[in-house]
Assembly symmetry: C2
Homo-oligomer: 255 residues x 2
């Protein structure tokens, strides 16, 4: 190759992935030029890759000629065992909580320093919430996030506390010392709550899901289960109980 790409170790595979990863929640429909910019690749290169990806049905073109993720990649994604096995086990329990509380129910895991939402059940009447399956939020501003952070490895937790934390609302707790104390409470009490920390007018409760330990010993927290409601009112105990029952059920059902 004459000029070749700036970054070393550039293979076709890495370029293909760069193109695919250029899509995100806010950018689901992209043109060649924008994809090239986002993937940091020359336009003609991206253009050719896109043609081959479309030929392979990995991508499709929408009515406006822009490129979108296609059905077959969706299919492939649905085969990721890490996400879908947990999601599948949890699904009936989420339904139960949703039926019992009519609140928005979330299933989430920790991905690095973010909450990754695996599933969401929301009623029509419930609070509008940003999260959807596949979306990410910071660990410190949501109920499920606090649970996951509280049960993360100590090293990661301490690192997180020293990082710059986003403040979606004025109620978001970003003071390291205050957050550290909150997390200790979450571990001790077994649940986390937030009020107006991510979205004004939205409160949340969340509990950890632990893989049921065969013998004794430390239980590994694999995910978190949470609900979002307009206000916690007097309901806290009832909602918490529903969550904990479900979390235990999921933990027992895990392989």
């Amino acid at each position: 190759m004459s000029g070749n790409v700036s970054s070393p170790g550039a293979t076709v595979v890495s370029r293909v992935l760069a193109v695919l990863y250029a899509f995100d929640n806010g950018h689901r429909r992209l043109g060649v030029t924008e994809l090239a910019r986002r993937a940091d690749l020359p336009v003609p290169t991206v253009h050719r890759l896109l043609r081959e990806l479309v030929a392979g049905e990995a991508l499709t073109r929408d009515s406006g000629g822009r490129y979108v993720i296609g059905r077959r990649l969706w299919d492939v994604g649905m085969l990721a065992p890490e996400q879908t096995e947990l999601q599948q086990v949890a699904s009936p329990f989420l339904s139960d909580i949703h039926a019992a509380t009519r609140a928005t129910v979330h299933l989430a895991v920790r991905d690095g320093t973010e909450v990754l939402y695996l599933d969401r059940l929301s009623g029509r009447a419930s609070v509008p919430v940003v999260s959807r399956a596949g979306s990410r939020l910071p660990l410190h501003a949501t109920g499920v996030g606090k649970v996951l952070l509280a049960h993360a490895p100590a090293q990661l937790r301490e690192d997180y506390l020293t990082m710059e934390m986003r403040r979606p609302t004025v109620h978001t707790v970003t003071h390291p010392e205050r957050l550290r104390r909150q997390l200790a409470v979450v571990r001790r009490e077994g649940y986390a709550t937030t009020e107006d920390e991510m979205t004004l007018g939205a409160c949340s409760i969340a509990v950890p899901i632990a893989r049921a330990a065969s013998g004794s010993g430390e239980q590994e927290v694999v995910a978190a289960l949470g609900i979002v409601v307009p206000t916690l009112k007097r309901e806290r105990t009832r909602l918490l109980t529903a969550l904990q029952v479900a979390a235990r059920g999921i933990g027992r059902s895990l392989p």
Copy 2:
């Protein structure tokens, strides 16, 4: 390349996709050799591609060293607008039906000659059903399938009737003339039912979801909504009403 691959037009991109498409519902964890066989590529080639895909976090290796679809591909798949936009609009309505009926609820589209399940809500108590989000079944043996087939283009419908049809149970209707009459009834009545056609002991009702036409004219059926229950009992009317309310709601909410 000295020998090169048998099939012409073999690019790296097509090879990568062949490797990814080698995964399916029954084969989520695969070794190099099996992947190579399924993708019809030489083992060393697949091996190198796999390494690069793992480096790019598209794939992961499970505890047994086998390759599985990774988190980032799941992420990417969740961005497919065709599947997820419909799924997202429909989600609260599925919750409503599920809460009202406690039955297993399905959202599905037609993909060629198959039903593609986009979402499923199942209670713990409900009939065990094979379908899950991302899985496919033949069009003629399920409620949602009959709805989608009934509203498919006439040409495709006729072609389908001449094809060999699988018979999961003895009650599956595969006789072309009988099925054609059933589909006419489905179009006229606006819903489809099955009893024991896919799974013994499972019945289903399904209705079409049509994009709400702005003016008058033909409404385009984009998906189907169905539930699966142990037996229809006297409940048929109530269940059907719940479904139809939801289907209209989704149709109105579509962009």
